[in-house]
Amino acid sequence: MSAMFRVRSLSKLFPVERSFVDLLLAGSRRSFVHAVDEVSFDIHEGEVLGLAGESGSGKSTTGRLILRLVEPSSGSIEYRGRDLKNIPRREMERLRARLQIVFQDPNSSLSPRMSVGQAIGHPLAVHRLGDARERRERVLELMEKIGLTPASFLYRKYPHQLSGGQCQRVVLARALITNPEFIVADEPIAMADVSVRALILELMLRLKEEFRLTYLFITHDLATAKYLCSRVAIMYLGRIVELAERRELFSRPHHPYTKALLAAVPIPDPAQRRQHEVVRGEIPSAIHPPPGCHFHPRCPYAMPRCREGRPPLRELAPGHFSACLLD
């Protein structure tokens, strides 16, 4: 499998907003949130790469960086062998038709004043693809494929007239209308109801085959990641702490943080109820992250040298990477 994206040492620092009083007290020192801290990974053609972690782990920022919706502070993103930095604006705009994103909340990513047909056809208008009649036909055809039926009836409806599941389909259809090859799906089912979630996941898998898509699937829900992804990267405070093929990661997790996350996932089966081995505390501030391995203050296996220097992401088995001094 060839790499569609090669991400190397990618970082994003966001400056922290300061009040006038802070300026007086702290002088000219600026502080930054290390949202993404030197992450490197590949996205293979045709795979579903999962980015999983708790809130504030940098997974959503990573997704946006790859599409250049946020400009990186440093590092490189290669798309099919070309550095995205060097692609001129004009060409980047054209490229966006091939690289799409689906956000968490369908309600806030759909304009309440645009009908379903307008919303789905909008990217075609933006990229000046086809005339009005062709666009309409393409939209209707895609609506059929994605289960927004009866298509000609729903075409004129507005988001508030649709169910949650239908809204999420509209968002998916809008991402697919330009015939992309890559989609960043940022928690696409987090706001959906239980029965709708399964439908959307199944639909995403079907569309992946039909449209030969590659996904970057961002989620905090490891059970969903296990169901959908080919490989999964676990993020903690802006860094990837473990990355492996799905089965490998869930059956042989290495990093203590991955283990803690897996142990914490509630199991929908009362027969498997257990006392949790709870890791203490919560994810620390990304403005002043702990030195060394960011996880050491919460880690049950922490050693003195965990405080010194960042543990490298090393390959333990083919394709299985972990950033822990214990490995």
Partner: protein, 345 residues
Amino acid sequence: MDSPVSAEPILQIQNLSIAYPIAIGTVRAVEQVSLELGDAEALGLVGESGCGKSTLGLSILRLVRPPGRITGGRILYHGRDLLAMPEREIRALRGKNITMAFQNPLTSLNPLYRIDRQFLETIRQHEPAVTRPQALQRAEKVLESLGVEPQRLYEYPHQLSGGMRQRVMLALGLVMNPDILVADEPTTALDVIVEAGFIDLLNSLRRDWRLSILLITHNLGLVAEIADRIAVMYAGRLVEVGAAEQVFHRPLHPYTQGLIHCVPNIRVDQERLATMGGSPPDLVEPPSGCRFHPRCPQVMEICPRREPPLASPLIPSPIESAAEAAPQGGEAGRQVACWLYGARP
């Protein structure tokens, strides 16, 4: 914990109906729901958004906001009808005997007051004679038993982390030593590791404080970790009630079956998830007969015509093999509202 139905229910909801009048008609959010909460029991009330579960939770303390209105039924607490009580008496019960925990602790804590002041207010509301040191001592004790350092009392809500806020909010609800906790999606705002800690906390509270918990959630994983019994709501009606293991392992109602089989389980390698067609109905004009019939894969001729009563199943589930049939007495307290199980029209 052994018997799915406790001998003496602490709370009895009988034929409860709640409606919200809106411009185009009336939303019947809860219709004819009867449910019991046993002493020191954890009952999970599950369903999807809009099924009426949160409205039902609010009605217990008569907190349904107008124009929502309780249109019928009784809620008995120690034999007294909460719905018929004068306002003054129900106010005395709120927070003292029955308490609520909500999804977002930031909307339940006052951002302008330090935590100590919020405890003082709560305690003095019920016991005006308590001195400040006495009240703070009580607050510290509760916080400590919930795993929060007592010095947090002197901080503001914004200084606490998400998990800490959730614990402080719970501590505020528990400082008067209530016997019922109504928790509505208490972990939705929490990350998974913090959520796991919160689950352990709720389970230990039940043991140590003999607390009865009504857990309202759409999260089946959470329910499976806490509840002794489960009640499933669909479109304002109760469709199934039973011991947690029964409901998860042998769901009877086709809606419950669909719900349980469409959730990914991290311990199982799943090739495909079951999916449910359609979406929950409009509660202004709900479908006739069984409200699930337009989405039901096992729909029969009678389903759109007559509404099935919530009753003990008379015949085993058609999808269940003889080997899996329930052991003697294992289905005690099991109820389902579905024509598949031999209820007489």
